[in-house]
Symmetry: D2
């Protein structure tokens, strides 16, 4: 890359496959996955099932599809789902949760986290046909729009236990579960254990070019297979993508700590700027979400100014921004980005 290549902190999805990953993809043994004959996809599914402590798993083209299929498997139209405020399923899936599964998401808590009280308050009285029945609890871990925060496992466990007591199913949107595992020092299987169904993505921090996966009991994964087909997510020789995911599981998982370190550096730089509202306690993984104080330019202006100086970030709201570190951003680039942003923000 030329000196002037921008530092792209828009998302951890922008990473391009490394040479080694491309080699793994080029060499992948493949077959028709709709006949269950793609050996690399099968390997990935087995491996992830084991890694997540689940019976079975199924590959899907995207995290959105994983979430949408999970909703279709675990709910019926007219049901209500409790999730953290600004969860991906309500905000970043084009309205699919209502359009595809016919469910209504009740957003609770704050900072990506909610507790038993919030859950209890959100569950509508059962047995009365006037209320939508609350049938699913969903936790997004790490929570993207809250700044990549890790939901404390003690909270996860007691909320899921309460959900089971109340007759709710439970779903873990673990698109960035790999980051949560590294940040918390807990294996993915432990993080996934309290849930009926678990989704993970390979195209975010892990740096694969695409693909997600649902894991859970065999019967639910069979149901997911049907809904994957119905939504158009059943592909053919997707061993190509599965090979990238397997490669990423081997090579790019532990290194997420580096991204977290980079985000921390960036967060510290931003938190020191007078015009920035950022609680460093939220910078736990590879995401930095910060707000511009009154008197500062708006988010769109900062995005444009940063872009001119070779730093790409995204607006999450009129005064809210997100920067994400990843595999394709070096320590030096992080320093450069921090300097640019500090300068723009009067830090």
């Amino acid at each position: 890359m030329a000196v002037s290549a921008p530092v792209d902190l828009r998302s951890d999805t922008v990473t391009r496959p490394t040479a080694a990953m491309r080699a793994a993809m080029a060499a992948a043994e493949v077959g028709d996955d709709q006949y269950g004959e793609d050996p690399t996809t099968n390997t990935l599914q087995r491996r992830c099932a084991e890694l997540l402590g689940q019976e079975a798993a199924i590959w899907l083209p995207s995290g959105t599809m994983a979430n949408q299929v999970a909703l279709r498997v675990l709910t019926r139209p007219g049901d209500e789902v409790v999730a953290a405020r600004e969860c991906h399923a309500a905000w970043h899936e084009a309205g699919g949760s209502a359009a595809n599964a016919g469910v209504q998401i009740v957003e609770v808590g704050s900072g990506g986290v909610f507790d038993v009280d919030d859950l209890d308050a959100a569950i509508k009285p059962s047995g009365l046909p006037v209320f939508p029945p609350t049938t699913l609890l969903q936790i997004e871990n790490t929570h993207n729009r809250a700044g990549g925060v890790v939901v404390p496992q003690a909270v996860v466990e007691r909320v899921c236990a309460r959900a089971r007591e109340r007759g709710l199913k439970t779903y873990l949107d673990g698109a960035r579960l790999w980051n949560a595992a590294v940040a918390s020092g807990r294996p993915e299987a432990e993080l996934a254990a309290p849930f009926d169904l678990v989704g993970v993505s390979f195209s975010k921090g892990l740096g694969a070019p695409g693909g997600s996966l649902l894991a859970g009991p065999r019967a639910l994964i069979a149901a997911a297979d049907r809904h994957r087909r119905m939504l158009g997510g059943a592909m053919r020789q997707n061993g190509i993508f599965a090979a990238a995911a397997l490669h990423a599981l081997d090579r790019h998982r532990e290194r997420l700590a580096e991204d977290h370190h980079h985000a921390r550096r960036l967060g510290e730089a931003l938190a020191g700027c007078p015009g920035v509202d950022l609680d460093l306690a939220t910078v736990q993984t590879n995401i930095v979400v910060f707000r511009l104080a009154p008197g500062m330019p708006d988010a769109a202006t900062l995005v444009a100014q940063a872009r001119e100086r070779g730093v790409l970030i995204v607006a999450f709201g009129p005064r809210t921004l997100r920067a994400v570190t990843h595999l394709d951003v070096t320590a030096a680039q992080v320093e450069r980005a921090a300097a640019v942003l500090r300068e723009l923000l009067g830090g």
Copy 2:
């Protein structure tokens, strides 16, 4: 009725048709409404269109169906709707908004009211496929779960104006618009004027045994006709019900002031009890929603205790209750209910 007949404050829907209303129903001229040949239904539709200042109107079996048909007419699956927190469409329609129309409702504001800032903050950025497009603004006036509050017309007008600027359609859930008109001293047509489509109910304060109506431009009412059929709301000789509605429009509209006065009496009694949390400013029409302070029994307990003493109210939440005055509750009964509740609540 015997002396011991309970004072039924559960809802203004429990009223039974008066003798005069029954006579009107018995004498109604009818025809097959699916052929557009029910003269009494046609009269009701014309009259309400005029009363609401709209081109056309269509009868529907319930307020829920009016709301659901409005959603289907004004949105497409995957769209997002902005409405006041705890609106009927999100809370009291069995999850139909997502199941029938595939839309997601974003609840904003507080106390049944929200303003331009809330609307602006709730509209997701347009033109990005990741976000659900915000396409509809909905206002419930009066707002049931907020305590029957009237949304100030100046707020209605500026929020609807802003919605139009942002390309949103607007819907007025006016199930209790008759109460808002009486309480505010503004004609229904003025309250309805800022909206694309308006729904009203005959089975609440007006005391008819059933039926609601949508009013708006001819093209939208034609679309509503199709969706009424699709949801199973097209009936036959519903002039019987239309006659009750016409009778109620003539005889039961102005008298809503009496219900409002009764609710005020009840509210004052409750507000004076130490264990009750009730802002009298919310008691604007025929609904009293109040909360039990910490240390008091929970809502279910109070409901049961009041029932034993011949007063029926409903729990709206673990510590929240609702009492509603209406046509079948006399001033004396209101005093009796107030006394019973005061006694139970240590007032």
Copy 3:
């Protein structure tokens, strides 16, 4: 009625309540049916449950809603339903089956009837995610568009038995089951026995101004209650309509034989016309569906010509017409209609 009042054979839904029915409605004891407190609705539900040999029943505003609720209760989105060709659910419900329940209807057989072979051929292979799973069998009895034919009970029984063997649920769209019972001499309970859920209508041959009902096991009726609410079919003091239905069950059921006799007379007159294609074997109840032979005017023309001469019938297709006899058509009117149609058709 004046001499010139038209003979209205468009549908058995056009009947107007008799004076006695109006009196029953005016005297009906009522309550709020959403609280389960409408005594007349409760009586109707109990009586119909018994009459249909089922555990429980629930009132609904229309036959379309009965069918739509049945689909939502017995299927899940993506399922496939096997039904007779030109069934009401696929043809006359505005596309609701797909829009509300997300199901695909496979139309089989001919003349309103299909047998085990047709069912077997229509069931898609199970266990393969590529095919929609076939999960429901639906029979419409009598079958409207096939000319009001009664499905032979032996066929009903073996098709339902086969459906159960194949793991399908079964639904009887019995909007005109009363006609089938009278024509076949079998009690409604016998006709309904093979099914999981049964729908009947009061607003067709029975002459009530509106209303239908679903009957079945208690658990399914509880589910239907939720979906009735979700679709907007839960009303309030619908004892008014229930009283009409109860009156009709007492007074208008046996007299359906008269309508059948009238249809027969009309059918014979039509079958004798050279330009008419009508198999008299299909004229089993109160419906006559006939086709115009090549060389004859089209259906719309005949409808218009008959209307000018005071006879109302409907076009069911470019060359297909329907005439329906009912409570409000006398023997003399049937003769008049027969004479008019014969004259127009060169008979």
Copy 4:
């Protein structure tokens, strides 16, 4: 491959990428396609838009998703779609058409083809709320379950012209349009010209490991982008798959003639067997669909017997089978398969 490798005629989707295709994939320039920055996907989209004579195009993970997105873009829930009997959207998409788009498909014609009369007969009367509005015509070309037949372009043109006259939109399910182009000698753009929206697949005869595409006017492709996201079909660095598709367009399009020749050979062998019902006129491209005559074993038995002898075909029904030729089947393998099937079928 060893001598004993089976001849896999189950589908043209089973092909594995060639070494050259793998090299193209490994070298693909990629970016984040959700930001519109995947250069190879962009190239593929531009190239296909041009090839199909359309303004714009969008990549999708599967042919099912292309069809489902097309339905969502071109219809609204409750609409009716006219298509050829046994079309992919009704048979092979897991019930998605009703579940995702809420539409009902009316299957007409025979042998994969229907004409203006069939269309006219299938369109339900407009303007009556009782009927589902017919709003879309869909043609599958080549038609899979009819045996890969090419719909004659004159038929396509007059049916689409009639659809436009009647106010219907038009969609071409061209998953195997490449085969239709080669077989008919007409460029894809000519075949696609009569339609509002066109879908093509890369993972069938072209031999790419996955991916499909929709092409049409810019506004419809923008709508498709939203629905792609909503269904979970938006991926990231899918230039990897786009590179395979580009390679296939260059290298594997003209050679489809060879597959057609092989299918013809197989068809002739099968047609000569006494127990086989096969009209050679249907063998126009790379698919052979044939039926087993009475007295012959059923389809499942033949599939199993052929498998034992190293030939893989699929059952399409109790007595119907399909064999498909493709890139990974040599002339010698076709001869071997023909010999095996002839022997099993007493030819």
